[in-house]
Symmetry: C2
DNA sequence: TTATGTGTAACCGATATGGATACAGAAAAT
DNA sequence: ATTTTCTGTATCCATATCGGTTACACATAA
């Protein structure tokens, strides 16, 4: 998979760490080690999903739209991965073959079950959990 | 994701349908609607994972190495997806940032949990299940 | 009115994906 | 023994995706 989910999660965790202070795309990009445009593209998706808001102008930047404890990794996954499917089917199996004409329908169901299991697990973690884990690590170090 | 997992599953289900008759890469490719080389590449991986065997020469082809009821989708997933991870991390977050220097370790753990949930669900389905589903659909139609 | 920062478009190089051709080698068929 | 069949693998290609980069209009704060 691409790194967008990981970066989006990084962004939200970073914002949670900011304690309400807006963060610019440049600041976030420095933490992620990428470029501000990439961050802004993801922030646009997160904003559309209602997870963040943006404050324009000087002193502005991105903010969490909800408490970090109310944003799960599943929310992030849904906001970022527009396709929302881990698995892909192959195009147009042979309809004249007993297997070919049914494999997609049959396999799709099993893929959805696996996908649901993945999503259910993602729903168990919130951005606040990650922020707490990170705070713990920084305390120890 | 790419379609290799789906095609590999298609191959194995096709072989299960063959009832012990070897299938050539050309025959399988016709069912999948792709080219024989792609099938052979996947068969090589499946054979290395011990899921199939190949019979060379005239009248030869691919065969299941085990009963279809003993091959799970998790076996296929492990045979094909060498990386075996749905999620990817972004390269080299900033070690000078409290979030950047810990996000990978923290996120990796949560990703592994989700991945495990996915794999556990994949383990619930066997090639024999798929073949049975397909047989049922062909019976009705 | 100026400075700051977002949102978005356009372009690029690198990589992954699957399709196509080719061919050496193994085994079956004759 | 020779021919045919089929695998295993290498090579090349077109296309798509990914993330990086530059650029700029627009909104807002200073």
């Amino acid at each position: 998979m691409n790194t967008r989910f990981a970066v989006a999660t990084h962004i939200l965790t970073f914002l949670a760490y900011q304690g309400g202070e807006p963060a610019t795309s440049e600041l976030i990009a420095a933490s992620v080690n990428t470029n501000p445009t990439f961050i802004r593209r993801l922030l646009t998706q997160l904003a559309k999903a209602g997870l963040t808001t943006s404050q324009l102008g000087a002193g502005g930047g991105a903010l969490l739209a909800h408490p970090a404890s109310r944003i799960s990794l599943l929310d992030v996954y849904r906001a970022i991965d527009e396709e929302q499917q881990v698995f892909a089917l192959h195009d147009a199996p042979n309809p004249q073959c007993p297997v070919g004409r049914n494999i997609d329908a049959v396999l799709k169901g099993r893929m959805l079950e696996a996908e649901r299991a993945l999503q259910a697990q993602l729903a168990q973690t919130t951005i606040a959990d990650l922020a707490a884990d990170i705070a713990e690590r920084n305390k120890v170090a």
